[in-house]
Amino acid sequence: MMRASLVFAALLAVLLPLSLLAGRVWIDPANIEDFGPNAALILMELRLPRAVLAIVVGAGLGAAGAAMQGYLRNPLADPGLFGIAPMAALGAVASFWFGMTWSLPVFALAGAGLAMALLALIAGRTSSGAGGGLALFTLAGLMIASLAGALTALAITMAPNAFALSQIVLWLNGALTDRSWNEVWIAAPLTFAGIAVLLAAARSLDALTLGEDAARSMGINPRRLLFLLVVGVGLSVGAGVAVAGIIGFVGLIVPHLVRPLTNRMPSSLIVPSALAGACLVLAADSAVRVLPLVTELRLGIALSLIGAPFFLWLLIRMRRGQL
């Protein structure tokens, strides 16, 4: 865990200054005076908050992905499986629908909170102690996700006007464009609280390596673990969606990048996955800024373009039994 954390922390330390300099206007650190007072403005009010937000969102997604894979004992699990991200997105879509975009993060967080409450309610009924609760709960999360997806699609087809429609569709492909320190102050505390909750569940996730029954025999309370997971993933993913929209694949991919550098126990993945997630989103967001396209490529689309082929490669590797 230490090695992996150091590797990704070092990478982040290299990426962050690069990201601050990169963009439509490249800032040359040697001749920063040439840019006049604008350089400081661009750096402090545009690029720094955007970079910090990329780090926060990526860290939340990475940690949540590592925890979800550990909890579901499956390397193909993704934080989206619980339905928290789609519900948060639905909340955000609702704010566009009602023309209340100024309160978008509040709507999105309310969506995430609703998903968490639903999950907690279902969890209370399914994890009664006997086995099989986990599969049932995962299916329940999937149902919440598909319900949120259906309602989002409904909102799109019945959008009140063309402007709201384009806003919704654009927003659903997550991005970090034009974000300010306000978004950072919303997302950072919630995300880091979520990661802290996931860390509290880390050792219990290790016990799950041997299956649900063995974990329970080792003193793990499955209900407590489930609540920690729902709250931890809810906070870290919900906050990310609230400020950046849907950014897929990070939670799925990152633990796979980290795993070979650790002892492969779920607890050893969470911190390095947070750092690696931060690196990935920061790098991708810097890349979409400098790509010579007519309009800036949406971050969510860019990550899906990277993520889908990676996922296929992963499936093929799994078939060969190399995971």
Binding site: R73, R203, T209, G211, D213, S217, I220, N263
Partner: protein, 263 residues
């Protein structure tokens, strides 16, 4: 220091899997739970580990209802080894065995090292579990339980799917644990293993206690015929191989079960 079930009735779904089972288990012994498929062996073991909630009746550890014992304290007292080797991540032998310390909340090396040494896994410490044979895997999983230094070891079919050498080896380890004062309760399918290694045998038949006695009584030919519906005789295989004495500790009897087909 006893683990006991009193008038235990257990349902899974709508089906009754155990009906009015009572037994006081003793530490320092190997108790084998045997019975036909679906007799409730695994369910009884899980109930003893506190993992299944009884419909009626109680499971007690040292006279205390197991449901009232805090989870961590229960986990320190009882090590449970489920059936089959289901390991989600490709972790190394050492890391897996170290999970046994979880109920204690410490990372003490000595019990983990002792468990690894006891199961002859020293050479494999850093090997990922995907590169282990079935027998090695079974030993690692048992090492995890031993690393927790439990007073009770409850193991579901720990010897199944092992080759002869590993069976004898692992059974020997369990015997050594029992000799050191640990209570060992194992579910077995192989009646000859139960006959030769157990100090006591509990026979379950369709969720009911059919026999609870020393192996030669519990596994008498009459009982086997009644419960399994197969005619059998126990044969004592002698003479011993040259230079090999029957080891009263490791392998107290050399009884073989000869079958004569269904009744």
């Amino acid at each position: 220091m006893t683990l006991a079930v009193n008038a235990l009735t257990l349902n899974r779904g709508n089906a009754a899997v155990l009906r009015g089972v009572s037994a006081d288990l003793e530490p320092g012994q190997i108790t084998a739970i045997v019975g036909p498929n679906g007799a409730g062996k695994s369910s009884l073991l899980m109930a003893l580990a506190g993992l299944l909630e009884p419909e009626t009746g109680t499971v007690t550890l040292d006279g205390r209802n197991i449901a009232d014992i805090p989870l961590r304290a229960r986990a320190r007292a009882i090590g449970y080894l489920p059936q089959g080797a289901d390991i989600a991540w490709d972790v190394a032998v050492e890391a897996l065995a170290a999970l046994g310390r979880m109920p204690h909340g410490d990372a003490r090396r000595e019990p983990v090292d002792a468990a690894i040494a006891a199961l002859d896994l020293d050479a494999l410490r850093r090997r990922p579990v995907s590169q282990l044979s079935g027998g090695e895997r079974a030993r690692v999983l048992l090492a995890r339980v031993l690393a927790g230094e439990p007073r009770w070891i409850l193991a579901d079919e720990p010897l199944a799917a092992l080759d002869l050498a590993h069976q004898v080896n692992l059974a020997g380890h369990l015997k050594a644990c029992a000799d050191a004062g640990t209570g060992v309760v194992i579910v077995l399918h192989d009646l000859a293993l139960a006959m030769n290694y157990a100090d006591r045998v509990i026979v379950l038949d369709a969720g009911k206690l059919s026999a609870d006695a020393p192996p030669d009584q519990a596994l008498s030919s009459e009982n086997i015929e009644r419960v399994w519906g197969v005619k059998t005789r126990w044969a004592t295989l002698l003479p011993e191989p040259e230079g090999m004495k029957a080891d009263s500790k490791r392998n107290p009897g050399q009884q073989a079960l000869v079958t004569f087909g269904p009744v």
